[in-house]
């Protein structure tokens, strides 16, 4: 299983002295392999989030393609691409991502909830994840009652509850303390070893020690 992108470019409208376009991601080619934890570092504004959104099927590239096992994901219609994201991609976006009207367990089960296709085994797995991430006691709590670190662990459980082939994490430890930070990296590392392709965008220098592949972005390019 391989997610591979070639010639990925994304430009946005932005008025500057000599052009109207601003290229956030510039002709990037990248491969995410199962079992591999890829760490992507780079300064703020270098295009990391934009790249990750294109790889995860959320942002249509200006040019270039993203292929999952040889199939161009952007050739799919919205319904199919959404279903693919639901089944094969797990994403931990930047910031807080709780759905406030759902409790923690329901938030974690959201990918199943959307397609109403959970089995008792899936629920069991969700509970197991909650134990491992130390949020089992919060099962029936509402997001408003949780701390930042707890919410982040909830978002991680949600991203992996369907056992996706590819896991994306965008600065998953940005607002966490050291202890929570290492819990998160350990968990992502473990997921990679269990066979997922994992890509983590981070500022954290410690992350280098977890990386199987270390990449850096500068001005929209991988260097």
């Amino acid at each position: 299983m391989i997610l591979s992108a070639s010639g990925l470019t994304k430009s946005f409208y932005r008025k500057t002295a000599n052009s109207n376009r601003f290229t956030a991601v510039d002709d990037v080619s990248i491969e995410l392999k199962d079992g591999v934890l890829t760490v992507l570092m780079g300064r703020s504004g270098s295009g990391k989030t934009t790249l990750m959104n294109m790889l995860s099927g959320l942002l249509q590239p200006s040019s270039g393609s993203v292929e999952l096992d040889g199939k161009d994901i952007y050739s799919l219609g919205d319904k199919e691409l959404s279903r693919l994201r639901n089944r094969s991609f797990g994403m931990i976006p930047q910031g807080q991502t709780a759905v406030s009207s759902l409790d923690i367990f329901e938030n974690i089960m959201l990918p199943f909830f959307l397609y109403k296709d959970s089995t008792p085994q899936d629920e069991e797995y969700a509970r197991e994840l909650m134990k491992r991430l130390d949020i089992a006691h919060l099962e029936a709590a509402k997001p408003a009652e949780l701390s930042g670190g707890e919410l982040r662990r909830m978002a991680i459980a949600r991203a992996v509850v369907r056992k996706p082939m590819v896991i994306f994490a965008d600065e998953p430890t940005g607002d966490l303390d050291d202890e929570n930070t290492s819990v998160v990296f350990e968990f992502l590392k473990e997921s990679a070893h269990q066979g997922a392709a994992v890509m983590v965008v981070t500022h954290e220098n410690d992350a280098k020690s977890y990386a199987d592949t270390l990449l850096e972005m500068k001005s929209g390019k991988i260097v």
């Binding site: 989030t49 959320l58 919205d78 279903r83 930047q94 910031g95």
Partner: protein, 398 residues
């Protein structure tokens, strides 16, 4: 697990209640307004039916009475008489197909009634205006000293009511009509003549010593084929002295004019409330969805298709509007059914609630209209959220 839309509604009780209340008020205004307009319309046609004749002929001096309109239209207590000679002259004119005499008497005080009531006597042999009404509630013919009472009177079948010392038996109670019929008492020519005689004997008749055998209050007339009511009215007024012939159309024109005015105002109000309600719902749904843009982006990340996001917004709106509309219709019934008498008095117009079937029809139509317009208002937000740029929102709190 329940649907996400249901969870969202339950998860934000305050917001949901406000939206439900808005759509409830919207439905209430439309349903209530329609009911009032329709009741006024039915009231007017009940009034037209109540007159039931093209032409009414009354003693000329009666028309100068201040309460004349109220007496003939609303059955307000009051009476006037002309002698048989005048009646005879009227009946001899051309163009009359049907004619029937009526006799009025206001009761002084009766056990049934806190206020004086109008007693109307008709001639069962010639009558064509009152009998059809009475037939709806009472199919037998009235015997001696039998009366039929209007729906609002506090007297029931089998009761005895005394007028000027004469005991009368309540043979029937009329259905609600929304007109002066509801507060009047009806009886035959023979019975009312005894009552008039008794009022004279007691010295309580305002006309002093009238002879019941030589008094008629009015003549109801239908024009014959080949004659217009106008021609007959003009002919009578020209050739018979001391009477006044009036077209029914003219009599109720005052009422139907003000009725038209009131329904017009209500129609404008309904439109205004409807537009306002839809705009408020539009804003409210837009706000409620905007506030949750990040949550919708999260659903998208978790694999929701664009159409699914739109479906969630529409689902929420549909549930809220259905609940609100049902409450609005119930509120409408709760206000109009018990208070229709108050509304009638406040408007000062005949007011007759439509039948159960029509009410149900209006209720259903208001429910559908409000649910539809509320959901349409949400469709704008649904469309916008389905075009969500997940990437931009997720970058949002960098």
């Amino acid at each position: 697990m329940k649907s996400i839309a249901v969870k969202n509604i339950k998860g934000r009780p305050a917001r949901s209640v406000i939206l439900v209340v808005i759509s409830m008020l919207l439905t209430f205004a439309i349903f209530g307004g329609t009911m009032v307009i329709s009741s006024l319309d039915s009231g007017l046609s009940a009034l037209e039916n109540r007159l039931g004749a093209d032409i009414m002929v009354v003693p000329f001096e009666a028309t100068t009475q201040k309460k004349f309109d109220d007496i003939v239209l609303q059955n307000a207590p009051g009476y006037f008489y002309m002698d048989n000679a005048r009646v005879q002259q009227v009946l001899e004119r051309e163009g009359i197909a049907q004619a029937s005499e009526q006799f009025f008497l206001a009761s002084a005080s009766a056990s049934c009634c806190s206020v004086a009531v109008q007693i109307i006597g008709y001639d069962p042999e010639t009558d064509f205006t009152i009998t059809p009404w009475i037939k709806k509630s009472y199919s037998d013919s009235l015997g001696e000293l039998d009366v039929v009472v209007g729906n609002d009177l506090n007297a029931f079948v089998g009761d005895t009511i005394s007028f000027y010392g004469v005991d009368c038996k309540v043979a029937a109670k009329l259905d609600k009509t929304g007109t002066g019929f509801d507060t009047a008492v009806f009886t035959t020519k023979d019975t009312i003549k005894r009552l008039i005689q008794s009022s004279v004997d007691l010295g309580m008749n305002i006309f002093g010593k009238v002879d019941p055998e030589n008094t008629v209050s009015c003549i109801m007339i239908n024009a014959a084929a080949g004659f217009t009511p106008e021609e007959v009215v003009n002919d009578i007024n020209l050739h018979v002295k001391n009477v006044k012939a009036i077209q029914s159309k003219e009599l109720i024109s005052g009422v139907s004019d003000s009725l038209g005015g009131v329904s017009g105002i209500i129609r404008v109000l309904i439109c205004a409330v409807w537009i306002l309600g839809v705009v408020i719902l539009l804003l409210a749904f837009t706000m409620s969805v905007n506030e949750r843009r990040k949550e919708f982006a999260v659903l998208r990340v978790a694999g929701a298709a664009r159409s699914r996001l739109a479906g969630i917004v529409l689902g929420e709106a549909l549930m809220i509007c259905i609940i609100g509309s049902i409450l609005g219709v119930l509120l409408g019934f709760a206000v109009i059914l018990p208070f229709n008498g108050v509304i009638e008095q406040a408007l000062g117009l005949p007011f007759l609630l439509p039948g159960a079937g029509r009410c149900a029809g209006y209720a259903l139509a208001s429910l559908l209209l409000c649910t539809l317009s509320g959901t349409l208002a949400a469709a704008v937000s649904a469309l916008r959220i389905s075009r969500i740029d997940t990437g931009v929102i997720l970058r949002g709190d960098n």
